[in-house]
Assembly symmetry: C2
Homo-oligomer: 658 residues x 2
Amino acid sequence: MSFYLHDIPLSAAQTRFEQALQSAELDHILGSETIPLDENALGRVLAEPVWARLSSPHYHASAMDGFAVRARDTDGASLTAPISLQVGEQAQYVNTGDALPAWANAVIMIEQTEPLDAKGRLSAEVRAPHAIRIRAAVPPWKHVRALGEDMVAGELVLPTGHTLRPVDLGAIAGCGHDTVSVARRPRVAILPTGSELKPIGAPVAAGDIIEYNALVLAAQVRDWGGEPTRFPITPDNREAIRARVLEAAQEHDLILLNAGSSAGSEDFSAEIIRELGDLLVHGVAVRPGHPVILGLISHQLSAISLSPFVPIIGVPGYPVSAAMTGEIFVKPLLHRWLGKAIDQPQTIEATLTRKLASPSGDDDYVRVAVGRVGDRVLAAPLQRGAGVISSLVRADGIVIVPRGAQGHPAGAAVRVNLLRDSAEIDRTIFAVGSHDMTLDLLAQFLAQRNRRLTSANVGSLGGLVALRRGHAHFAGSHLLDPETGTYNTSYLPRYLPDTPVQLVTLVGRQQGLIIRSNNPKRIMSLSDLVRPDVRFVNRQRGAGTRVLLDYELEKDGISAETISGYEQEEYTHLAVAAAVASGRADCGLGIAAAAQALDLDFVPLFEERYDLVIAAAYAHSDLLAPLFDVLADADFRHAVGQLPGYDVSAMGTVVPLS
Amino acid sequence: MSFYLHDIPLSAAQTRFEQALQSAELDHILGSETIPLDENALGRVLAEPVWARLSSPHYHASAMDGFAVRARDTDGASLTAPISLQVGEQAQYVNTGDALPAWANAVIMIEQTEPLDAKGRLSAEVRAPHAIRIRAAVPPWKHVRALGEDMVAGELVLPTGHTLRPVDLGAIAGCGHDTVSVARRPRVAILPTGSELKPIGAPVAAGDIIEYNALVLAAQVRDWGGEPTRFPITPDNREAIRARVLEAAQEHDLILLNAGSSAGSEDFSAEIIRELGDLLVHGVAVRPGHPVILGLISHQLSAISLSPFVPIIGVPGYPVSAAMTGEIFVKPLLHRWLGKAIDQPQTIEATLTRKLASPSGDDDYVRVAVGRVGDRVLAAPLQRGAGVISSLVRADGIVIVPRGAQGHPAGAAVRVNLLRDSAEIDRTIFAVGSHDMTLDLLAQFLAQRNRRLTSANVGSLGGLVALRRGHAHFAGSHLLDPETGTYNTSYLPRYLPDTPVQLVTLVGRQQGLIIRSNNPKRIMSLSDLVRPDVRFVNRQRGAGTRVLLDYELEKDGISAETISGYEQEEYTHLAVAAAVASGRADCGLGIAAAAQALDLDFVPLFEERYDLVIAAAYAHSDLLAPLFDVLADADFRHAVGQLPGYDVSAMGTVVPLS
């Protein structure tokens, strides 16, 4: 059952909006302005074609330093039969760029002339001698840049709709213009509304939401060639929001009304739009983004627009929905208003690393991390939540699962709309496996060496499976073998029988209990976990920390069923710490660094080894070379050593495999 | 023999510059600044990593409008055995985004609750009833966005060196920051020098050069993240230039000293740099760009830099050389100073449409037009001259012919560094053939339909050859068959025996004599061409106009040898007109529009048909569909009709082929 019963398909919403824009005569360039031809013209879009006003060069120009001559005067000159030309009548010194005298039609390079004095002797006066002697004939127009060589007056230099680049400015100046007619920048009002919103930088309490959608929308608008105005936050007050919308309509071409994330504020938006004009669409079957509203406000007067209508888009409150609404609805509209050609996004075919389920009623925009492992391009779906802005930050691309499809199985070939240059993808190290804080530092140090580290956190065993499938360059792993007490080595023949790998130690690290500050429940050991007043939070099956826990519980004869919260699983050390910090749990097993990050206490219990399992196929690649550099970097070792509970003495050690 | 005897290979020049920057401690980020987190941060480069300060959400947040509950209180609820929860103690209304009460650990959507009044009857008070009745149990944490779901305090959000995009600003705000530490923008002084230079917009006489290199360099610097300062033009005066360099060194991180195009001014640059510091490189074996100078100026004091050195680059005067010097030397330096990761350019493999000769001593940067014709990507070399800025404007990519290589034969596979998105290449219509002014208008109209028209002018026969090789989507052609008096049709079986094509008329056009204003030599017909005082300028062999001329000369019994200038060939109508306008010739055969563009007179002699020969394989493609739309567009017909000497009555007519 869906709350947005009135959701309509994306294509239908686009068509309805499109038709309304057409009726309102808002489906073309908004207007043009003539601006000076300077570096501020960079990135502007031509509203008119540029036709050459002057030819370039606008005269016959010497292309060399030398003497301008008549080609026919040089006929017959040779090494053994030189010819002398009188300076003044038959030859004239010209610098590169100088105009040829009217009688001249060729230039001889100065190095190929012998300066002579009045008596026919060699002269020291190379540029203004009495005469020159030459030992080769020149054809007409040799070393001359003819009038119009570059551009001819009347020629089309750049078409309407072209976005100006540095060289374009030069060409426009070079053919005689000192101004340029460009599309007026669409003015976009961004209205954040919601009583729960706090401005960036203000102190926040539980229930307060930091309002940054307006910032993201404003930056998008600027990126796409518009001029954003960010309005202050309007609380959830119908009249206040209505007044703001009317105010914004006076001086803007488009209003983005960003509702708070609650259904209540969204209802205000729809009501106000219906009242002030035309509510075209309320709810679009696209994910994330559902409660998108599209409308047209009628208004009396506008300082800037000739149309009595201002389009308004009700942008959903969740940050990913807001940003995607920008991409899907605002960007094409701004491009249209600028008269800009719309390029299709760059796409790449990739293999899905895991199953992708999708509700069949929606066009589903799924963020993915993309990496090239060997010959294969991989797409790993990221967190789907509409509130997870970091998933958009980490995203390398978007896979659109169209309405009607239910998703894709793991291993399926999907088309990815790239958000990054494919060159950036090519310098991405794709890590899948167990999470550790030092991977963040590793990413930071790799970035300084022109590598991007993308890591998908699926636990140690998940990492080995990814390596076996050829879905990762390396996997972080801390798998304890309960029989031998060793780390990782015994797992490799079992999980990677046919995949040669190199095992390199990253760190030794303490595992222990993450507990609340001052340890109010006096939790000191695993045996405290069975106390009825203690609620535990666990790691997911397959995670090295989970294996360690189960091993130690077994050793101590503690039954998992007796631990309250044993079935509560988190996927990272920090998530475990967050569960404790929030009071959702009293303790969890994890690493010291995670406890410190959230100001929690830590009871060290065990020490374990965290290794990188590196696919041998890439161990000596250019791509991974910086990884080994970082492992040998004293600054990196020092930075990791600063984190609590880490032992860096074995960092970079290659672990022998039997 | 080379004038720049001291040219050194590009790699050696880069190494020498690199080492000098290292010694001067100028090989890393220049400095950082903390700026407010607003839309002006867009495009800035992180000088420090962003670690999450707050978790996001920073509390357990309801993901729905509904009632916060304890999951265990709902155990056992089912359709037939509903459970009632007291509002206040067991249930509390929450909007999406609200914090859960400390005792709650799950949310039930409002649609799945039945509001009850104090007597247990259904209530109209949906958000604040006395109690709620539920008919399903909920697991813990259902519809809750747990603390840290998006970002966890202490986590790495973005690494140093990252260029900020709209969503990044949101993520940085969302994890508790209101400022961001970014690399200081390098300040770059741009000093145009040369007595022959005139500012953009000033009137120009022969010998004057419009100074736009500084504009191009300034726009490049801005594009690459620097802050440019354009200085006024300094004449070729050693002391004045020296003073400017010293002035610029005070407040800039880099000086670009743009010499006039003459060797003289370049010598000043080298002398001044030698005098004020260290002349590292004078002349680099790269084309275009030879006379590049690299140096370091020592200076006493700087308001902005801690280094007592300011790098200086002597930029050659030719515009293509200047822009390429920016790409090769300035861009990597600015990226280095910003701490930005350097992405390799996007490359594509392409087939050369014609032979590419290259001097073996230089790294040769050849501008090419790139188009995709069927399965094949084609690269057509553009004009090579260092003064032809329009070649950079038209360029879709660069082919680097490395030092030591002598070029490539036609048909060779070359790697192209793309200057445009490959999506832009995919919407490019690649035309090869005869030139006509209406093609400029066609390009303009196609641009409005999201197509780019790239046309290589090689004459009508050259176009047919390109079609045969699969090197063009269409060819413009006006080939007269002297035997039948028809246009184009009889040539097709001969030149394109195996290539099905469609023949569509673009225009009928007058051909005639382009002559100087007021026709001082009274040239009225072809018979005047043989007069000794008349100098003719011809079109190249293979051009339709040339075929027409030869046909008419033959008919009139005029021998080509008797025409002075018959052997002078130009490749376009406008180039013929420019030759007449400049006085290089008295007349040429061409079209009326070309004469009008340069204010020349025109004596109409013949009317001919100009057709588009369209490869049948693409005639019905999406790519070419807009071409047919334009041919049927009344606005286009009107615009062409405005050009003198055109007949648009047959526009778009498909010519039957026997």
